[in-house]
């Protein structure tokens, strides 16, 4: 009995001990599992719970003009968000927000009573308004500072600059072409936060500093740009044109000094632009038939190939048949025996067609190609079009095109192509690559853009002779382009606008391309006005715009008149 009673508790003790040991073993096993085997996972979960990595946004690179004036800078604005579930009094909150966000209270109220966990109320509001909003401490309303783009000159050079979206993506113009260079690299700062949001532990040594974007120095001169835009606005008002483009370029280097188009938009508020086609830069993307300006190309080809000299003559009978299609002079005149200089002076279509047919299609189109038509100029701007040139062999090329192309009909070019081609005459025969960025400045140093010659189009002697003929053309054809005291070379253009089935019977594209001083050109200007109402002719509406700009440029650039500049002073 005693033996039974003493072995019972012992057995129970053994059982309890065994159970306890088992429990301890299981506990140790679980501890081993969580603390050793799953340690990494737990650390990761803990880090996700408390660790916070904040993005440090880089400053987008600035864009300056050639004299260091800001054209685009980085600024900051507040994006405003709401968490509807955390808002106690949506009506009151909506009323408070309405004045700050400049939105109807009803619209804001609708957003605040929505079902979503979060909603965006406004983007890119000013720093002042954002900070005031934060100071109110409205429950459920958050404002986060975000980088955005500012254009201190407003609409000035809008097409050339492009714009940056609220998400930081550059589009069009310089902003689009140099987006990767400008945007920089974001950094981050890690840390652990306590429940109140206070960072308590500098997290895991993860501080990556942001890398700001490169600064771009443009070839643009904001004063010249301003002169050009003012004159373009005036020309648009005077001629009642639908649209217009002006480019000013250094013909020797291809550096763009100014580029403007109308209608335009404000890149500071790009989202308000309607229609969005306005974002396209017409100077590089809008194709048009150049009209008589193209006779410069035809004449250059004829002179350079030795077909004619300025004094060579042809018999102008007022019309010529090319490929079965009759071609007439623009004024249906009959000039009789006419020199090449007179051909340009009176802008005779029959003469141009005579030259192209004598050159032959192969040689004529070879020169057209060498002038850069049908291919992009390679300018460092986003959205350039290569133009449209039909050549023999193309299914839509006809023999009559050889005649019409000679005076700029049936061929589509951009304004930049046209000015670059005429610049080849101004600079001695070289096709330069136009460019707008003079210098790229990064943390590593500066990269200077070297002017690039794409090819020699014709002999420098041809350029010299043709310049003299173009001086004569300005003197005779369009005296409205002349600036007293200065020698100007140039050519007008009046082109019909192609429409389905032919050409528009009323509207034209009026243009003028000229450079000065003719013997040592400091600038070349292209003026192009679409559908002018006051007069259809380039010599009437575009040439005076050239003169007004050239007049101001002579003063601004300090270019003395020929008499002073070329005066020969006896040495004492």
């Amino acid at each position: 009995m005693f033996a039974e009673s003493s072995s019972g508790p012992r057995r129970r003790l053994v059982v309890v001990w065994a159970l306890f040991s088992l429990f301890v073993l299981v506990l140790m096993g679980r501890l081993l599992y969580w603390q050793v085997l799953r340690r990494g996972d737990l650390l990761q979960i803990a880090a996700q719970e408390h660790y916070l990595s904040r993005t440090i946004y880089p400053q987008r690179g600035m864009i300056l003009d050639r004299h260091g004036q800001f054209l685009a800078t980085s600024i900051f604005g507040y994006d405003v968000f709401a968490r509807p579930r955390a808002i106690d009094d949506p009506l009151h909150t909506a009323e408070r927000l309405a004045t700050i966000l400049d939105q109807p209270p009803g619209d804001i109220f609708d957003l605040l009573v929505g079902d979503g966990p979060g909603v965006t109320l406004a983007r890119a509001i000013s720093m002042d308004r954002g900070e005031y909003l934060l100071s109110l401490g409205l429950p459920g309303i958050e404002a986060v500072s975000m980088p955005r783009r500012g254009y201190p000159e407003g609409t000035l050079a809008a097409h050339l600059l492009g714009f940056v979206t609220l998400d930081g993506e550059g589009f069009y113009g310089v902003e689009g072409w140099y987006d990767e260079v400008l945007k920089g690299l974001p950094g981050s700062r890690g840390g652990a936060e306590d429940p109140s949001g206070l960072t308590t532990i500098a997290g895991y040594g993860s501080y990556i500093p942001p890398r700001d974007g490169a600064t771009l120095i443009l070839t643009i001169d904001r004063t010249i740009q301003s002169i050009v835009e003012e004159q373009l606005d005036r020309a648009m008002a005077d001629s009642k044109a639908e649209a217009g483009t002006i480019i000013v370029m250094d013909p020797k280097t291809g550096a763009i000094l100014a580029m403007a188009s109308r209608p335009t938009y404000d890149p500071n508020r790009y989202w308000e632009t309607e229609p969005q086609e306005l974002f396209n830069n017409p100077a590089i993307s809008q194709l048009y038939e150049p009209g008589s300006v193209f006779k410069v190309v035809t004449m250059a080809a004829a002179l350079d190939s030795g077909l004619v000299t300025p004094g060579s003559t042809y018999e102008d009978r007022g019309s010529i048949l090319v490929g079965g299609r009759p071609i007439f002079n623009w004024d249906y005149s009959v000039r009789g025996t006419t020199t090449m200089t007179e051909l340009l002076r009176y802008s005779l279509n029959v003469g141009a067609a005579t030259l192209s047919t004598h050159l032959g299609a192969e040689k004529f189109y070879e020169y057209v190609r060498r002038f850069g038509f049908g291919e992009a100029t390679g300018v460092d701007l986003m959205g350039e079009f290569p133009g449209l040139v039909r050549v023999p062999g193309d299914p839509d090329w006809y023999e009559s095109d050889l005649g019409t192309n000679s005076f700029g009909q049936g061929i589509a070019v951009t304004s930049l192509q046209m000015i670059t081609a005429v610049a080849a005459v101004a600079n001695g025969g070289y096709l330069v690559q136009p460019y707008v960025v003079e210098k790229v400045i990064t943390e590593e140093g500066e990269t200077l853009t070297q002017p690039k010659i794409r090819r020699q189009v014709f002999l420098s002697e041809t350029a010299r002779v043709l310049t003299k003929m173009l001086v004569e053309a300005v003197s005779g054809e369009t005296s409205l382009a002349k600036v007293p005291g200065y020698t100007i070379a140039g050519k007008t253009g009046t082109a019909q606008i192609p429409v389905p089935g032919g050409y528009d019977p009323v509207w034209t594209v009026a243009s003028f391309v000229g450079y000065a001083p003719a013997e040592d050109p400091q600038f070349i200007i292209l003026v192009e006005l679409d559908r002018p109402e006051s007069a259809p002719w380039g010599s009437v509406v575009a040439a005076p715009v050239f003169r007004a700009i050239a007049q101001e440029l002579f003063t601004y650039l300090g270019i003395p008149p020929d008499a002073v500049r070329l005066a020969q002073v006896p040495q004492s």
Partner: protein, 149 residues
């Protein structure tokens, strides 16, 4: 008897000594642990304070960077060409209409009746005006070509 007493008291003394030593060791242990805890807490506290300060400074730096960008934009906007032009107009300035160039030909008098006509020839550098003549010419240009009120 003494021995017996002595024998009897010796374990007591040893027990007292052992207890005292244990208490001392425990006291030292607790003091050390306490010191270590205090040191650790102080370190953690200082580290946290430093981190908070660091973050405050970083936030302040970021705020100043943003303010700097904002001010740069404001300055650029106030110096924009449209603002300058408007300000100049209000002050009564007008754009220059035409520059008058006065050319100084030096002390030698020569035939100035007809100025050279335009030719497509490069000007002979030996016959170009000297730097002094150029400088005077430019000064005259600046004097006559500036803003006219």
């Amino acid at each position: 008897m003494e021995n017996s007493v002595g024998d009897a008291s010796s374990p007591n003394i040893a027990r007292v000594d052992l207890r005292t030593r244990t208490v001392r060791v425990a006291a030292v242990f607790f003091v050390l642990v306490g010191l270590m805890g205090w040191f650790s807490l102080t370190q953690a506290s200082q580290s946290t304070t430093a981190v908070i300060q660091l973050h405050k400074l970083a936030a302040e730096k970021e705020r100043l960077r943003q303010e700097n960008a904002q001010l740069r934009f404001e300055i650029s906007r106030l110096q924009s060409i449209s603002v300058l032009r408007e300000r100049a107009r209000k002050l009564g300035f007008a754009p220059p209409q035409e520059a008058e160039y006065l050319y100084w030909r030096g002390s030698q008098s020569d035939d100035q009746g007809s100025l050279p006509t335009f030719e497509f020839s490069t000007v002979d550098e030996s016959q170009e005006p000297s730097s002094l003549e150029r400088a005077i010419s430019h000064i005259l240009v600046l004097l006559t070509a500036g803003f006219s009120n």
